[in-house]
Amino acid sequence: MDHHDRKQCIRLFEKLSEYIDDELDRSLCEKIETHLKGCPPCQACLSTLKQTVAMCRELKAEQVPADFSDRLRKMLLQQARQL
């Protein structure tokens, strides 16, 4: 028998983001963790997805153009007068 239970993998795959975000109940987490122990492809899947999320969270903030604050205030003042 193939050690790799594909149906189980797919079910797990659909829940990986919720697992990363700690949004699943304890029993489902335990099921996932048990499955992961015996399934290197799912481990790889989880690690790559986790790292993707971590990278998004660490993206640098955009540099606001130097003159934008002034332009924004001028425009808001002008528009506010017309309201």
């Binding site: 492809p41 899947c45 790559t48 790292q51 998004c56 969270r57 903030a61 153009p65 808001l76």
Partner: protein
């Protein structure tokens, strides 16, 4: 028995300032702009990718906040309400532009293939500490990949994974169910992961 209010007023770091502005101190509006202009610009750039578009979104957002603040009833945090307005401004902007057509992302496209072709081991890039792997070039690659996402997925990803809103807050901002937010987020992340895999595989 006391009756529970189903829509209690939310109090947060902006409450006092908002109350003052609503009470007639419109001169304090500038403080609100100061508080949020940078983060709104960042959000808009991640959503639109172009400086001019991002500036328009920030301007439109503050204008609408100024117009409608009197009617804000604090049924949600001010920040969530602000992002709801910013989100609408982004959507409006996209409708005016020609690029980024809307399409669905199917989960099936990301389901790992049968065993023989499946990645057996975790690739190196997923095991390294972030400071060793996330450089400027990769940051730009991720930002470009985010811009390739259809807008409904991009919105969820930017709110959840860049702006740090919870599932519940994102569902309020986007007027979606939490389940829907989760589905879109998962697909958006899988899409990005594919782009990262290609980035690290390509010589």
């Amino acid at each position: 028995m006391t009756r529970k209010n189903s829509n209690p007023k939310k109090t947060d770091r902006d409450t006092a300032l908002i109350k003052s502005i609503q009470g007639g101190r419109t001169d304090l509006f500038d403080e609100l702009v100061q508080r949020y202009e940078r983060i709104l610009y960042n959000f808009s750039m991640k959503m639109c990718g172009k400086r001019e578009d991002a500036e328009d979104v920030v301007q439109d957002t503050f204008l609408n906040v100024f117009k409608y603040l009197k009617g804000f009833r604090r049924e949600t945090k001010f920040k969530n309400w602000l992002y709801r307005i910013a989100t609408s401004a982004c959507i409006k902007k996209r409708r005016k532009s020609k690029y980024a057509p809307e399409r669905e992302i199917s989960l099936d496209a990301f389901i790992p293939p049968e065993q023989a072709q499946v990645e057996q081991e975790t690739p190196l890039w997923a095991t390294l500490p972030l400071n060793q792997v996330l450089n400027e070039e990769l940051g730009r690659t991720i930002e470009e990949a985010i811009l390739e996402l259809p807008e409904k997925y991009r919105l969820v990803l930017v709110l959840r994974d860049i702006e740090g809103f919870s599932t519940e807050e994102s569902s309020q901002i986007l007027r979606l169910t939490p389940a829907n937010v989760k589905v879109r987020l998962h697909r958006a992340r899988l899409f990005l992961r594919e782009q990262l895999k290609s980035y690290f595989q390509d010589p």
